[in-house]
């Protein structure tokens, strides 16, 4: 908006006291164009909000019956009206935490290696490969985890249970505890194995967000660190890592959201239980999405409603995490990271 109080600069025109009003006149084509794009946006937002609305609507009958016990009950018998995510939700989070415990150091190292250490040509190739890895479908990871990783990880599980069994989460209760020669059955289909497999899926996602943030660390500050006599690691520690903190947190949260929602891997590998199983090395675990995937087929009308309630809980959980993640990334110096 331009308001001219002073007399016009050009000497020829007589001074006017009327204020000039600047208004954009949109022609009919523009109005149509705006209406069409707005319609697209409204449809998209309608679909996105519809997810929450429909999950809520369909979950309502079950939630009315279960009330707040839905959050604490560790049984899933919807037809007897005894059901809840008191066991499944912690197990879901446990899988995600195992995945993050493995994926964070690896993806942090990988992204730092790509952005700081690899020579230029290798760097481009590695970025391409990481992007490709992010596009590998989860079923491929799931099949590999089911048939390959499981067999090769039992040794690690048994080692941890034998030597670190005094740490509560590594304890394996049952016939195999403390017995090196015990059967390996107690270690299959565990939260630990699923978590390892899910971590592989999450690494490329986390890596690309982190790398993007690291690569934006200002050149001036990097060179300042070198000019002060810093080593490369000193430069990374004092310039790159603080600068990319938003990217690290944001990438971690995105990975967490993905790990919480992973369906197929959990469904294929784990042997489902509905109670909390803190012993991550021991057989048995579950996740909300695997619960839905396993039970939707045989569920009664009320059972379906109960599954919808579980889905709504997962929806709220992941949405909350994503909002926090995007806020953190958006507020950081590195700015908003690239899409995942």
């Amino acid at each position: 908006m331009v308001i001219l109080d002073a007399p016009p600069l050009s000497a020829g025109t007589p001074p006017t006291t009327r204020r000039r009003v600047i208004r954009s006149v949109s022609e009919s084509g523009d109005r149509t164009f705006r209406a069409i794009t707005l319609t697209g946006a409204v449809v998209v937002i309608g679909v996105m909000l519809g997810i929450g609305v429909f999950l809520g609507l369909k979950a309502w009958p079950a939630l009315v019956v279960a009330k707040f016990r839905f959050l604490t009950t560790q049984v899933w018998e919807p037809d007897d009206h005894v059901f809840g995510i008191g066991g499944v939700l912690p197990n879901t989070i446990l899988i995600a935490l195992v995945a993050l415990a493995v994926s964070i150091p690896v993806s942090l190292g990988l992204s730092l290696f790509i952005s700081e250490i690899a020579p230029k040509r290798l760097q481009r190739a590695l970025i391409l490969v990481v992007d490709l890895m992010a596009a590998v479908p989860s079923v491929v990871y799931a099949l590999w985890g089911f048939n390959y990783l499981q067999g090769h990880t039992i040794g690690v599980s048994r080692f941890l249970a034998t030597w670190f069994g005094w740490i509560p989460i590594f304890r394996v209760v049952g016939p195999a505890s403390g017995n090196i020669l015990g059967s390996s059955n107690a270690f299959t289909a565990s939260t630990f194995i699923v978590g390892l497999c899910v971590s592989l899926m999450v690494i490329p996602i986390q890596c690309s967000v982190m790398r993007e943030a690291f690569s934006r660390a200002p050149v001036g500050e990097r060179e300042a660190a070198y000019a002060l006599g810093g080593t490369r690691w000193g430069m990374i520690r004092t310039v790159v890592l603080p600068f990319g903190r938003g990217g690290i947190i944001g990438g971690t949260m995105l990975g967490l959201g993905r790990a919480l929602g992973e369906t197929i891997t959990v469904l294929l590998i784990i042997s489902p239980v509905y109670r909390i199983n803190w012993h991550i090395l021991q057989t048995g675990g579950n996740s909300i999405s695997a619960l839905i995937g396993a039970l939707y087929g045989d569920a009664s009308k009320f059972g379906t409603s109960a599954l919808m309630a579980a889905g709504a809980a997962l929806f709220i959980l992941t949405l909350g995490i994503n909002f926090v993640a995007s806020t953190i990334v958006g507020r950081s110096r590195a700015g908003s990271a690239r899409p995942v």
């Binding site: 949109s26 523009d30 705006r34 069409i36 794009t37 319609t39 697209g40 946006a41 449809v43 998209v44 519809g50 997810i51 999950l55 609507l57 369909k58 150091p105 690896v106 993806s107 190292g109 990988l110 730092l112 590695l126 490969v129 490709l132 590998v136 479908p137 989860s138 079923v139 491929v140 099949l143 590999w144 048939n147 390959y148 990783l149 090769h152 690690v156 030597w163 490329p204 080593t231 490369r232 690691w233 000193g234 990374i236 995105l254 959201g257 929602g261 992973e262 369906t263 197929i264 294929l268 999405s289 995937g293 929806f315 992941t318 994503n322 909002f323 995007s326 690239r338 899409p339 995942v340």
Partner: protein, 401 residues
């Protein structure tokens, strides 16, 4: 005037003419032989101690031994370097090697996943019937020469095709809206879409199940699966397209508007063509993501071993779903076919990815040689028209001022 002419930087002749104070070229490489000895020595030590430990304790399995060896290698390397260097240099050397190790672990694992899948899938991929038969004729004991996954291929094409037709226009339209509008509503749309990009895919399936099948009463079908994939791919396409459109230079838009073009012409003739390759890439990568998803399809498409080319009625399966079901069945011949389907899926995604890279390798505004020639022809035509309209004076050598 160049910098050299100002005498600020000596050019090559000056430099060669000046007497050299140091006859030898300065070595700038940070890599010296002792580093290599440290690395090799630490690797050998780590490997040996790992074997020792694996004999003494119960640790078995390649994965565990590999990580143990890596940890021991790092410890040994630290000790070796600290014999010669001080604290800061040791930390630098060790962290460099540690980061390289992390990269090695990640790439090793991810390569293993892909190679393993293709290796296991080769047995099934070798037979022609794998591509043009459905599974209905193959019992649990049938050899790999009977039955295939043609029904899943057809299902994947239908479902992904439906998702593409719905999500690409809608996604790009929304991205254009976000690009053009600066209102509270557009901020809201952007926030919601960003949050939805990491929506667990099973919830997309659950939504279509609740809405399309339970509420509207349609049956399990390929269309429902396509809708679920649309819901999943939509936020991704909107978000990436939005970012691509933001890269279109403001100067181009302003030039167009300064010439008096209305908004829609600016978008249609300037913004979208400039961002074309980026938009195509975002759609293809969204497609690559949708093609491999099972969770949404699992809930709404049903499962069948028969060919079903009609996406509107009856269950229809897709490649990832077939791979999952066959391997989960636990029957060896089925599992082989399952890995075949997974390998086929990987190849499809690889092809999509390569196409996306070839198209999207160029930034906004980049033109191929043919496009540039065409643009030049058009410019020449305009120039001729302008010259003829403003008379012979301007057509004199020197052109338009």
């Amino acid at each position: 005037m160049s910098v050299t002419a100002l005498g600020l930087v000596p050019n090559d002749e000056d430099r060669s003419a000046a007497p050299r104070s140091t006859p030898r070229k300065r070595a700038r490489s940070t890599f010296i032989a002792v580093n290599a000895f440290d690395l090799v020595g630490a690797a050998v030590a780590g490997f040996s101690i790992t074997i020792l430990i694996s004999r003494l304790t119960a640790l078995s399995g390649l994965i565990g031994l590999f990580f143990l060896a890596m940890g021991l290698f790092l410890v040994t390397y630290t000790v070796l370097v600290s014999l010669r260097e001080d604290g800061v240099a040791v930390r630098d050397a060790v962290m460099t090697v540690f980061l390289a190790c992390a990269a090695l672990v990640a790439f090793g694992a991810l390569t293993l996943v892909i190679v393993y899948t293709i290796w296991r899938g080769l047995a099934a991929l070798r037979h022609i019937n794998f591509y043009d038969h459905d599974l209905s004729s193959a019992g649990p004991t049938s050899p790999l020469t009977k039955g295939g996954v043609a029904h899943a291929l057809v299902g994947t094409l239908w479902q992904v095709g439906i998702a593409l037709v719905l999500s690409a226009p809608l996604g790009i339209l929304t991205a254009v809206y976000l690009d053009q509008s600066r209102s509270r509503f557009s901020n809201f749309v952007r926030t919601v879409v960003n949050a939805m990009t990491a929506l667990p895919s099973i919830l997309a399936g659950l939504f279509i199940y609740a809405f399309w099948i339970l509420t509207l009463g349609f049956q399990f079908s390929g269309l429902a699966a396509g809708l679920a994939l649309t819901v999943m791919m939509l936020p991704y396409i909107v978000r990436t397209s939005d970012l691509v459109l933001r890269l279109v230079p403001t100067e181009l838009r302003e030039a167009s508007e300064a010439l008096g073009a209305p908004r829609w012409r600016t978008v249609w003739h300037v913004v979208l063509p400039t961002a074309r390759s980026g938009l195509v890439t975002s759609v293809i990568l969204g497609l690559a993501r949708g093609i491999g998803e099972i969770a949404p399809v699992l809930l709404v498409a049903g499962y069948t071993t028969y060919m079903n080319a009609d996406p509107l009625h009856e269950p229809q399966v897709s490649l990832p779903l077939v791979a999952f079901k066959l391997v989960a069945s636990g029957i060896p011949t089925y599992a082989e076919r399952g890995y075949g389907a997974a390998a086929l899926l990987l190849l499809l995604i690889l092809i999509l990815f390569i196409i996306a890279r070839v198209i999207g390798g160029f930034g906004p505004g980049h033109m191929s040689a043919r496009q540039r020639r065409r643009a030049q022809r058009v410019s020449k035509r305009y120039l001729a028209r302008i010259k003829s309209s403003i008379g012979p004076d301007a057509a004199a050598p020197g052109g338009i001022q």
